[in-house]
Subunit: 205 residues, 2 copies
């Protein structure tokens, strides 16, 4: 089994605990306990809790980035199919409790946007950077389907992230992943309508 170093253990602990209870409620002591490392080890790797948060946001970008890069939604030949497959993939990730499927950077920036510009910027880079990975497919779909409108591929890509972030909040409020999935269904339907694609039931796996 892979043995993780103290730094990686702390980053994983931060993501797990912050998803469950938020950033400010999470103490350095609790993170050390969760990670099974000493406080000395914490401060060896991170000068402050905020420095850990910035590192965790970057780590979140890397690890989720790898997950998305390897996901099967890139395989369809049609760019619109790829965009819709991405939406379906996001819906498939809505499994378990909100602490398991919600977003570390969305939760963190919700609280820390005003108190730490470094945290805000790292969370922005994560959310906007992920949105950017959708722009090429959306742009190609706009050309392929000759869609005209006042919106850009960038703004639609970012809108998909807004819907997901909001869906996580609704899921937290309701205690149910189903309400989040409903919003993802609305997002899928919006994209189908934008591209004049006849609404389809997604293929069952």
């Amino acid at each position: 089994m892979l043995k993780l170093d103290a730094r990686t253990k702390l980053l994983n602990a931060a993501i797990e605990v912050v998803r469950a209870q938020g950033y400010a409620a999470t103490s350095v002591d609790e993170l050390c306990r969760k990670a099974g490392v000493t406080k000395g080890a914490f401060f060896h790797h991170f000068e402050t809790k905020d420095a850990l948060a910035v590192a965790a946001a970057n780590y979140w970008s890397e690890t989720t980035g790898a997950l998305f890069a390897q996901a099967p939604y890139h395989t369809p030949a049609d760019p619109l199919d790829r965009v819709l497959a991405y939406i379906d993939f996001r819906k498939d990730l809505l499994q378990g409790t909100p602490a398991e499927f919600s977003c570390f950077v969305g939760t963190t920036v919700q609280e820390a946007f005003g108190s730490s510009d470094e945290i805000r910027a790292a969370c922005k880079a994560s959310i906007f950077g992920h949105a950017e990975t959708l722009v090429a497919d959306i742009s190609e779909a706009i050309r392929r389907y000759k869609v005209k409108g006042t919106w850009t591929a960038q703004s639609l890509a970012l809108h998909t992230q807004a819907v997901l972030q909001g869906a996580f909040i609704i899921a937290k409020a309701s205690g149910s992943a189903t309400t989040a999935a409903d919003s993802v269904n609305h997002l899928r339907r919006y994209i189908e309508l934008l591209f004049n694609r006849k609404p389809t039931k997604r293929k069952t796996k």
Copy 2:
């Protein structure tokens, strides 16, 4: 000038401070300072900080409920026009900084959903209760425009709240209300497409 009682001052302070920095980061001491009341007064009115949060979520429902009830989006004769006017009204509220236009209950439930079921339930009641105020107009629009689909008026109403909650997070991350407004524009366009209404530029005021 209206003189607010200590309880109302504390509720207003909670909403203002939590919108700016989140729930867990906000201490009872800070709320007392902000409200200009003693700690004795705080604990006279609220047994715990969590009890204040529940009361503040209910207060948020009442005060924003009154704002929405009196808003001009109810006046159009056509139900779809009322729904679109609601969306435009929400877009108009995106003024100033995220601390000024974001949602107290969305921020609070993002953090506290797992730690306090009373807070979660009060935030759910606020978000879902507001969504419910849109259902009659959406239902009437579905009948009027003979729209068929697999979605319900309830799910579309809740989706509008998911988009808004997510738009607040994107605004916090970017430090700009414009990105939030972009998502509200996408939401408006989705509703126009669902009801086969030709996309319109909203009337300038």
